[in-house]
Symmetry: C2
Subunit: 299 residues, 2 copies
Amino acid sequence: MGLIVLGTVALDTVKTPFGFHKNILGGSASHFSMSARTFTHVDIVAVVGKDFPRKHIEFLRRKGINLDSLKMVDGDTFRWEGKYEGDLNTAHTLHTHLGVLATFRPEITEAQKRIKHVFLANVDPDIQRHLIECMRSPQLIGMDSMNFWINTKRKSLLRTLKKVHIFVANDQEARSLTGETNLIKAARHLSSYGPKMIVIKKGEHGSFFFSDKFIFLLPAYPMEKVVDPTGAGDTFAGGFMGYLSTVRKIDEKAIHKAVAYGTIAASFNVEGFGLERTSRLTLKDVEKRLNFFKKHILL
Amino acid sequence: MGLIVLGTVALDTVKTPFGFHKNILGGSASHFSMSARTFTHVDIVAVVGKDFPRKHIEFLRRKGINLDSLKMVDGDTFRWEGKYEGDLNTAHTLHTHLGVLATFRPEITEAQKRIKHVFLANVDPDIQRHLIECMRSPQLIGMDSMNFWINTKRKSLLRTLKKVHIFVANDQEARSLTGETNLIKAARHLSSYGPKMIVIKKGEHGSFFFSDKFIFLLPAYPMEKVVDPTGAGDTFAGGFMGYLSTVRKIDEKAIHKAVAYGTIAASFNVEGFGLERTSRLTLKDVEKRLNFFKKHILL
């Protein structure tokens, strides 16, 4: 049991048609853990600067997240500024400030090295590989990435991909990493890089799982009001990995449930800015919406 | 039993990464009926010019489609020329020649006026309304449209919408007709124009059904090779309406099945150019793929 996530803890400034929020708590590790914690115990590996507000640390701790390896170092916390328009399907990045992320080298405790389930959220693939090397006997390693690393560190990214079991990517990333426009072909291609399991996230169009044994697809939970989609992909990954870290055997049924939990968790994320909604999320909320989804929306 | 479809019978010239075909049999009524005929008897109401190849008429007749109201008049058959690139999700229209379609006024036989199920595929909304007025006691009327009519004949389109039970639109049409980007909002808005039931087609992302009683969504059947998507939307509508025309009561279960049949029929359409694949389609093919879809792909 237990799950360790490497990623970012960030200060996000987000503008959507529903509001503007400055320097709110964000980052891949924050969003991931807020969702994964409804299933299991979560440890975050990340770095923040000395400017990082104390209240955010207290907040994460209150949510039961282990912060032993959340480093605080001299410098600025990673900041992302973006806006969404129209159908809120695409984030327009206005500004990125790497700050302390630029020189981050993760260090984890002896206890953390023995955690069996690992998720490498989007950071430099060298750092992702470094964390894998720290782990004593990982059973399940998932990873995410982004176009920035695909374009600037492809070789390193491919080396990391070789060492993971699950690769979670969005449709654009899957396409740009493989050169395939058809997503099934792209998934098969990605799998040839190493990971036996591929999850492709398609935003409002749902997600799709690929392995050489079976494929599985699920639409997104239909949302009439999307307030802020920032972190929806990480929230999905948190539900997906969080659930998988609790099962004995990863078979077709477990994957169906994991994708469904990820999908439902993400639907809550988009209902509020930042972690507004997922910070109050309970497993009961997730189960309730999942039952509705199954009963009224799917075949 | 039985279903009558008003639409186009056309000569299509299509280029995709998988080939180039000139003047092949196409049009909304052709695609619709090729799919609907696997469920019920279909009558086509359309017009062609004197240049229309005899072999296409024989072909449609051989497929069991009633052509009593396929008019042949002086002039050219409606022609469409388009190409697809990349992910084949968007048709780029290169050329449209209306020909005899420009002055078309449908006339149907006495027997056809008594058919209970009607589909108004994409033609001028004035013509669509004219056909409705010809029908004696229609039980179920579905309609489709396109951006051209939304932009040029909005008022007439809204008058037609008032008289139908089901509106089938793609996501772009739903958005441009309502000004809503969120598709659930768009569907609710469309429903306020008259039709109790709205089906929104999202191409490779599947489709979604809306009524004030329930919503239902289904991903597209995942296809590794899309050869030519021309007519996929009409093929979907053919499966959807074809199945509905055989049920006693249109309840939630019937809608789930109808959307699923439409989805599966469309997946066959994209496997070949024009009517290549759907002309050989049997209900057994459809059922087989649907079972696979349910078993291995959906929750």
